[in-house]
Amino acid sequence: MGRKLLLENINVPGINTFEVYRQHGGYRAVEKALKTMSTDDVVEEVKKSGLRGRGGAGFPTGMKWSFLAKPEGKPRYLVCNGDESEPGTFKDRFLMTHIPHLLIEGMIVSSYALGAKTSYIYVRGEMMPQIRILERAIAEAKNAGFLGKNILGSGYDLELYVQPGGGAYICGEETALIESLEGKRGNPRIKPPFPAISGLYNCPTVVNNVESIAAVVPIINDGADEYAKVGIGRSTGTKLISASGNLNKPGVYEIELGIPVEEFIYSDEYCGGIANGKRLKAVVAGGSSVPILPANLILKTATGESRLMSYESLAEGGFATGSMMGSGGFVAFDEDQCIVRNTWNFSRFYHHESCGQCSPCREGTGWMEKVLHRLEYGHGKMSDLDLLVDVAKKIEGNTICPLGDAAAWPVASAIRHFRDEFEWHVSHPAEAIERNYGLARYADPLPKAETVAAN
């Protein structure tokens, strides 16, 4: 059994209440931090732990904290990003639903470290039940003296509020989230300035993912060294993986970073293999934005090494043969799934969610969706494939925020790895509507490393 740092007590009845959470060691991190550590100590500890942002970008959390400007007379803010909307990702929903006090404890410790007196948890509006759960948990914590004025007699004051979103994926981008929290349209800001200098209400602000904030609790409880012992290389600690698609046991799993992908998919401890006795065709390993990989490349890297669930191993091979850890949204496709249809679906998602502020994303996402739609419905042309790759290239890197990249990568990678299937949709349009291209050779053993290198 892998070590659990966040979900250790998830099956304890009543762990969503303050009382039970506290009985199981909850809020020890707050006591330890506020009573025995300076704010800099906490930042240092998080830095030392090697914790990397769990929202998708994987930027070291401690480093992000240390960039926070501290001008005199200006409040600083910590905002928790609970706008979980990346297709394939549902770990934050799970965490907020079942163990809300872990997030609140993390928020208190992190706010203390950053010197924030008011902090917000921005939760996507669709998660109204989770918003109510968090609000109740905040009231419980406040009642017990862990929030409000002079927490545990330390002289530190903190108010914590939950803010609902309104239905917009883009608000998961930190500056769009800040705009939304200010009551505006979720248009990402043009950076610089970065939030660490000028964020919420033009004050220095840190925005962290729900899981990142929760991970601060075990880091403070057990110490950074202990935390860094779990995991592999620069991928320290545990990670919540949201597993979905055609799996026997979809759900949220806490894994030690570095376990083999194969183990994650097939072992009974995790996903228990592909549902209905089917074979694996492809995987999106880190949420819809990251490149899709065929079965052979997700299980092994191009050099024939076993691929691991870690930031580095999933990225091994670059975009040519690798992918990304992203937010840990692990979507498995069985042999009956159509890659063209799924790519069109993802493309429609990004088209729908583009804020429309900058031209490459506003216009390009719609164009890609339309071309993919006609490919899927049997009206495509061979030249469409190169057109898609080209449009994706013209969006990628040229937009205000990463949504442009997120829209471009799935399309480019699907054509890169599943070109046969796209071409078949063009050459056999009638058949493509009737049946599926199937597994084809996507699970075949990879050619030897030398051949790959020669290509």
């Binding site: 900058c358 216009e363 969006i395």
Partner: protein, 334 residues
């Protein structure tokens, strides 16, 4: 005095005040190395960053940190650093990206310049002429909207809009009450008042001047004439609401349009009020200053009245060339 920093753009160095953007540094150098800008407007706070036509490559971040920036950056919103080196037209990557942006700006824009009132002074038209492709690869229906009159002076044709947000900033910063904004999102976003409403205030006409395309046009001028058949003349009046400094656009003896004075980047020198713009259409309302200089690249100069370019017959004949030497040299200088 604030510190000055040195930046090099396409191999040309310039010293600028700290805090200057790459775009404005390039404008100080001038000429072909200036990136095009469809949404940035120096007189509107917060503008820029959206259209992505001004993307440039920062090949050296600064003297202190010489690393290149990982992505192309919007030159209108990126400030220069001491020792920064920027590539605009010398970077194939930038040219390629710009071509892509232009293509994307055009996929939903009607390609009907001949029937558009903005033709001849449209920045998108110029941009696509310089950076666009001859043919479109877009094979789907283009986004279209009904034309709407927002009040009796301004018409909004959203079909032509590129969502630069300039008119929204004008309403926020120049007028006393913003009635219109950007509604919806993604490629369904539109400039609108949401409910049927006339935009009525003393400075609303400025949205026409800042619009880079034919989305917001002057109803008192629409289809009265092609701009290249009109003659721009600078004039002023004593106005208690604005500077009163305008450009009058003459057709024969008649003033058929009044606009603010625009510089070579299409930006107004100062915003003008609606009285000056819409109500003073007689020469006697104004003190005439003289012809307005228009860039020779503009089609408006096609009907130039200041000087005549020597006809080709002169260029080819050495004797005639010598006889017309003075005029010939003046033209070459431009």
């Amino acid at each position: 005095m604030s510190e000055r920093v040195k930046v090099t753009i396409d191999g040309i160095s310039v010293e600028v005040e700290q805090g200057t953007t790459i775009l404005n540094a390039a404008r100080l150098i001038g000429g072909e190395i200036v990136p095009p800008a469809m949404c940035y407007y120096s007189k509107l706070e917060g503008s820029g960053g959206k259209c992505r036509t001004c993307l440039v490559k920062v090949s050296k971040g600064s003297e202190k940190d010489p690393r290149p920036m990982p992505k192309l950056v919007a030159s209108c919103r990126t400030t220069v650093m001491e020792g920064m080196e920027v590539q605009n037209i010398t970077s194939p990557e930038v040219k390629e990206a710009r071509k892509g942006v232009v293509e994307l700006l055009l996929i939903n824009h009607p390609l009907d310049c001949p029937v558009c009132d903005q033709a001849g002074e449209c920045h998108l038209q110029d941009l696509s002429y310089e950076h666009g492709s001859a043919a479109t690869r877009y094979e789907f229906d283009r986004r279209s909207f009904e034309r709407r009159d927002i009040g009796d002076k301004i018409q909004l044709h959203m079909t032509r809009c590129i969502l630069c947000y300039r008119c929204v900033y004008v309403a926020d910063q120049i007028t006393d009450r913003r009635e219109h904004g950007v509604l919806g999102r993604g490629d369904a976003a539109e400039i609108s008042t949401y409910i049927e409403k006339a935009i009525e205030n003393d400075f609303s006409g400025n949205v026409i001047d800042v619009c880079p395309v034919g989305a917001l046009t002057d109803r008192t001028f629409r289809f009265k004439n092609r701009v290249w058949f009109t003659k721009p003349v600078d004039a002023h009046c004593n106005c208690d609401k604005c500077s009163g400094k305008v450009t009058l656009w003459y057709k024969g003896e008649d003033v058929i349009r009044v606009t603010a004075r625009k510089d070579e980047y299409g930006e107004v020198e100062s915003f003008i009020c609606n009285d000056c713009r819409f109500e003073k259409k007689k020469t006697s309302d104004w003190v005439i200053e003289g012809p307005r200089k228009i860039s020779k690249h503009s089609v408006i100069s096609a009907n130039h009245y200041e000087q005549l370019a020597p006809p080709p017959v002169i260029r080819k004949n050495p004797a005639l060339k010598e006889a017309n030497k003075e005029q010939f040299e003046r033209v070459i200088r431009y």
